[in-house]
Symmetry: C2
Subunit: 218 residues, 2 copies
């Protein structure tokens, strides 16, 4: 079993080296980069498009979309007028630093302030692979249920901001917000959290304002 | 890269051998076994508990719960009076045949007709690992969105039944059922599908009746 562990360590170490190069590329271009992670269907793409609207031109945004297959998300982003690149992992359950490194030349980094990377929909694998972004963000959607921090602790531990999405669905599902928040606090004390509804727009302005502040204070 | 591929093949081949042994253990005990897969928060555990109610004692049910961490799901099942075992993968994004093999002795197979295995919440990894169950079932929940077949084709290709869950949320979210079903049909023509709401009970009886028929005709 020790051999298996050492293989994993080598893969992660090689990934970290490429992640550092990605970070250097972002920094050189003056770009702030975010890695957004979530379950399938938590609303990552919609959240990114609504973030663009709430930014109201304060930041020049580009996106990198990660999926096992297809180009639905990049097409949506491009249709909204954003520079967009689609990465297909071909079966891998996460993006890694090499995939991101290969995608970067397709974006006009010098003309951007912010790049949002949408990781593959998954609450497990993406937590293990640094990409070189400045900020890891998790989106937890209300209909997924209040027990997710307890079931996916690695993901909740590794992020610097938490979006609670689809809060417009709270009246229609069972979701104990206190129980959810206790789980989050246990794993990631003081984590900054934004409850939002992309549908009604609630909470999006507070998130966008925080993001602008974050980018400018980098 | 060819070396990497051969390692993966060896792992999968070893897994398939253990899966065959699991199948033999189920068959010897006269047990029908189901592998339920879904995104995090699609409602797998609730669906299993509601299935138990809809079976109305027609089948003796046991469950095996797979999660990265915690024992919330097995506790829920045990509280409902079901023989239940929790598997913690410790970080792996799927169950495999060895984990299932290790869990089987904890269930009184000779006293059961049906074992439901709840896989780790994930639309990617579980599709690659046979467990030895007789039926692979996918739960797709309405709030996840209608584009999931197009994004996670491997999962949709590999199942023999599809549950569309949380249909009570249809009035509150954007979900194009025709678009969703076209994607499913493209990947898995003629797949048997059960739209259900665990909340209202809608559709649960049709699923339970089909399941009883399936178990008895094994």
């Amino acid at each position: 079993m020790s051999q298996k562990i050492s293989v994993v360590e080598n893969i992660l170490s090689a990934n970290d080296q490429i992640a550092q190069k990605n970070r250097a590329a972002f920094d050189q271009a003056g770009v702030f980069a975010i890695n957004i992670m979530a379950s399938p269907g938590a609303g990552k793409t919609t959240f990114i498009l609504k973030t663009m609207e709430a930014l109201q031109g304060r930041l020049r945004l580009g996106v990198i979309e990660g999926d096992v297959a297809g180009s639905i998300d990049a097409e949506k982003a491009a249709a909204a007028g954003l520079p967009a690149v689609q990465i297909n992992t071909g079966g891998d359950c996460h993006l890694d630093a090499v995939m991101l490194s290969n995608a970067l030349p397709a974006l006009p980094l010098d003309q951007l302030d912010l790049v949002i990377v949408e990781n593959v929909g998954n609450l497990i694998c993406p937590a293990s692979f640094a990409l070189g972004t400045h900020l890891n963000v998790l989106i937890a959607s209300i209909p997924e249920g209040d027990d997710k921090p307890y079931k996916y602790p690695g993901m909740y531990r590794g992020v610097q901001a938490l979006i609670i999405s689809k809060i417009d669905l709270l009246p229609y599902v069972t979701f104990d917000m206190d129980y959810f928040r206790r789980g989050v606090e246990m794993l990631n004390p003081g984590l900054v959290t934004f409850p939002v509804s992309a549908k009604t727009g609630e909470g999006m302005q507070a998130w966008a304002d925080w993001l602008v502040e974050k980018v400018h204070s980098k």
